[in-house]
Amino acid sequence: MDQTLQKALDQLDQASAAVRLAVQNLANAPGGAEAAGDAAHALSGGAIDPFVFRFAIFILAIFVGYYVVWSVTPALHTPLMAVTNAISSVIVVGALLAVGIAASGVAAGFGFVALMLVSVNIFGGFLVTQRMLAMYKKKDK
């Protein structure tokens, strides 16, 4: 009986290990498991790699960028350069993350440098654009 019990407990261990593995697989690689499986469920997108979505967003944003920039009036091309520079400092989200929660001190340090650099851009870029744009006036008299 003891042996039976022992065997049962062993199996329990094995089983739970297997289940844990399965859970991990499921959590880490959603999509991998179903790939060969239910195409219909797949169609609903539950299993699609987020990269595909990001790529779609990237491609569409390029189209938007193309059109929106062509519609900028040539008289404002200099402010355009300044403002695109300012908005490209949205890389600040990476810097904030590094400073805010990076486990490693080195990483936080890099983040801090990035944060300082990019803050120059954020404030400098938008303010200098504002200064420029404030100068464009219509004939009023």
Binding site: A82, I91, L97, V99, L115, F123
Partner: protein
């Protein structure tokens, strides 16, 4: 804050950035556009803070970083002269490039914090995206520094041609690819820094052979690069705001480069290969006797006060001389006297797109008196005087008539169609393209040799007599 809400907010900030650029389609909506941009940035920052919930200490560090950087940025923005915009933009780009490198470094040193795997087990896809981001970022950094130094005159504008540079660049490019593959397989931090180093060197080598005058195209190209770097890191961090913004900035820079190249009738490749515009050629000496009619400020004042229509054509020399305020005064005098005054802007007048517009705006010239080439070119035929101030190449008729000219095919302002053409510049020297301007020797042309600002001020004085 749930990640879904956060992603949604990042999307909102991306859309606000789109609206910011959209606003620039007209001066009246442009200020609102800039405001959208600021709000978008604010949302991106606030969202990240709400999501990351840093400890008090780390939060203090963040505030410190923002304050230091923000302070420097704000002061710079307030102090900078409008004529220094090209170098300011170049300097700012270098910061974004370096920041991208730093963020990537942080990610590789603390991968768990960025959710891209664990130390020694970073997702291969993230590594590829990251190394693309870091390489482009590093190239942007050193490239922009060189561009800044050349534009700011701290380094000679002369193209620096290193023997075999094409071979070296190609070798570096291959090395980069090998290093990226190595990084993905080994995840070694040393390899990461080698990628950074190779890219930094490549950035320098790519830009030094390009002449100072071509720097605006380079700045715009680097702007585009900084966008692609941001987008690449956006993929790594899974951040919608970064991906959208990166694509916007990438397109924007590419389109402006294209517009400049087209305005100069040169191919982008020929700009990048460099070696143009370094030396300023003297007036061509082809043995033909040529006479120049020179005039004084009084002559110019008399001519313009008795004209019905005057078209002002500003160029790079106006920016150098900071003559825009004097010019505006002169135009006021003319208008008070009943003369019809308009400004004609060539797409590549000055040294960056929209350069002249921003300077005229600074001098309070209303933007509805300022016209683009296509809109005003036909009016020169009806103008009594074309007042060309510090412009040269953009008026050179050989671009229109002389098939052998290097600038043949570039659109020009037809100032030679005006009854009289007044040319304000310091000498008979050539402009950026280093080509002699046959207009100086034409009958209807009167040269007003001198500094643009001084000459214009003298004309204003002469108008009072």
């Amino acid at each position: 804050m749930t990640v879904n809400l956060a992603s949604f907010l990042y999307l909102v900030s991306g859309v606000l950035f789109i609206m910011a650029l959209r606003g620039l389609s007209h001066p009246t909506t442009s200020r609102q556009g800039n405001l959208y941009g600021m709000i978008g940035m604010g949302i991106a920052i606030a969202t990240t803070l709400a999501l990351a919930t840093p400890s008090a200490g780390r939060f203090g560090l963040i505030v410190l970083g923002l304050a230091i950087g923000g302070g420097v940025g704000a002061v710079t923005a307030r102090r900078i002269a409008m004529t220094s915009m090209p170098q300011l933009v170049a300097a700012f780009h270098s910061l974004v490039g370096l920041a991208a490198v730093m963020v990537a470094a942080a990610a590789i040193y603390a991968p768990e914090s960025f959710g891209i795997g664990t130390d020694g087990d970073i997702h291969a896809q993230a590594l590829v995206e990251m190394s693309l981001g870091v390489a482009i970022g590093a190239i942007t950094f050193t490239g922009s520094v060189i561009a800044f130094l050349k534009l700011d005159g701290r380094m000679s504008g002369k193209p620096i041609m290193i023997g075999g540079r094409h071979v070296i660049n190609a070798a570096l490019g291959v090395a980069l690819i090998v290093l990226i593959v190595l990084l993905v397989t080994t995840e070694s931090k040393l390899v990461f820094w080698l990628i950074v180093a190779a890219s930094l060197v490549l950035g320098v080598l790519l830009i030094i052979p390009i002449g100072g005058a071509d720097m605006p195209v380079v700045v715009s190209m680097l702007n585009s690069y900084s966008g692609w770097a941001a987008a690449a890191l956006g993929f790594t961090l899974g951040n919608l705001a970064l991906i959208i913004t990166g694509a916007l900035v990438g397109s924007s820079g590419a389109i402006l480069s294209y517009i400049m190249c087209k305005g100069m009738n040169r191919s982008f490749i020929s700009v990048i290969l460099g070696g143009f515009g370094g030396e300023t050629a003297a007036a061509a000496d082809d043995g033909i006797e040529r006479t120049v009619k020179q005039g004084s400020a009084d002559d110019a004042a008399y001519l313009m006060m008795n004209a019905q229509k005057v078209i002002i054509v500003p160029g790079y020399g106006m920016a150098v001389a900071q003559a825009q305020h004097a010019l505006r005064e002169m135009a006021d005098k003319l208008k008070a006297n009943g003369v019809d005054v308009k400004y004609a802007i060539h797409p590549v007048a000055g040294r960056m797109p929209g350069h002249m517009n921003v300077l005229l705006a600074e001098a309070n010239v209303p933007y509805d008196e300022v016209f683009e080439l296509e809109d005003i070119n036909s009016e020169f035929a009806q103008a009594d005087v074309a007042y060309v101030i510090g412009a040269n190449d953009v008026t050179n008729p050989s671009a229109r008539d002389d098939k052998s000219s290097p600038i043949y095919g570039m659109p020009i302002l037809d100032v030679d169609k005006a009854r009289t053409c007044l040319f304000v510049k310091r000498s008979l020297g050539s402009g950026y393209a280093g080509i002699d301007n046959t207009l100086f020797y034409k009958d209807g042309t009167m040269m007003l040799l001198g500094d643009a600002k001084k000459m214009t001020e003298e004309i204003v004085k002469a108008m009072d007599h």
